[in-house]
């Protein structure tokens, strides 16, 4: 089974049926898999804070939402995470590509990478870091934890987890 299939299977097995995405090269395969599954309503967002708003609405309407985005989005969504998701106590699994880590070819990505965990820590967002493919075995438990505690939870997935950047 591909890692993309495993990740989306875990979402579906945890009742996640509404996923918004903002693309990243590393996330292309998992986004394709989300789009391909009938169990999930896939709604691409133009910006990540818009996506978190969609997820908040979907949750209140009875769905189990998730967002898939790059770590640069943490810089975009601080206010939304704090004043919407956390203030109203809503669950939100965030599958995040952790750009700017080892094997990163684009220097500018590192500038946000060095702030990513510090920001998540400052926001008191439970954060998990997938570095090896076997780390994804925890995804099922992380999703259960997220919907148990009604918090946003970050899952950072770095280049090593995704197998590098190919021929980039």
């Amino acid at each position: 089974m591909s890692i993309n299939t495993k990740i989306v299977d875990d979402f579906i097995n945890n009742g996640v049926d509404f996923i918004t995405t903002v693309p990243c090269k590393q996330l292309a395969g998992v986004i394709d898999e989300v789009e391909a599954r009938d169990e999930i309503y896939h709604i691409p967002s133009n910006k990540e804070d818009e996506g978190i708003g969609l997820c908040a609405g979907a949750f209140m309407g009875g769905k189990r939402p998730a967002i898939i985005m790059q770590n640069t989005a943490i810089g975009v969504t601080v206010n939304t995470l704090v004043t919407l998701t956390q203030f109203y106590r809503m669950p939100l699994p965030m599958l995040i590509s952790y750009r700017g880590e080892l094997r990163e070819p684009v220097a500018c990505q590192v500038e946000m990478a060095v702030h990513t965990k510090a920001l998540l820590n400052q926001l008191h967002i439970p954060t998990y870091h997938f570095h090896k493919e076997s780390d994804a075995e925890e995804l099922d438990a992380i999703l259960k934890y997220t919907f148990m505690c009604n918090k946003p939870v970050a899952i950072l997935t770095d280049a090593s987890f995704w197998g590098g950047y190919g021929d980039q």
Binding site: E50, G53, G57, M60, T80, V82, F87, Y88
Partner: protein, 184 residues
Amino acid sequence: MIRSEILREIAPILRDQLVICNIGLPSQELHMIDDQPTNFYMLGTMGLSSSIGLGVALAQDKTVISIDGDGSVLTNFGTLPTIANNVADNYILLIIDNGSYGSTGDQPTYAGQNTSLSAVAKACGCENVIECQAEDTAKVLQDAIDSKKMTVIVSKCESGNIKVPVITKDPVVIRDRFMAAVQS
């Protein structure tokens, strides 16, 4: 007419619907005029009323009305293509366009100058876009509900505010009673 007068006029229509209400004075005014468990008041997060409302509409079948402002739509312009490409016929976006940032001291917005939000919504692909004068908002809103077609309404009104108390309800209470109303 100013925004609070529109809200007072449409309150009997809103009463039976799920409503996502914009941050600041719009929520405070609606809360004072006719607080209902079917109202979700935004206490923060400027710009996301339309996104939250679309999410609720896509998740279930009841009619959802997002009450937004011109300034808030300008701050989240990406919402309009998302609405246009994810059609929910139980969704109405009501933009009360007073051409100003009302909650922050009535600074002018570009929507009150050269930018037409109804033209932008149409250009983004929204099929049913109606621009109306404040006085006609109640009729246009009721027609949109009855049409069962996703509709964007731009209600042009005058700038101005009334004195209203802030909302002191706990956000989790607002969210919980709204979710119970969705399920009822």
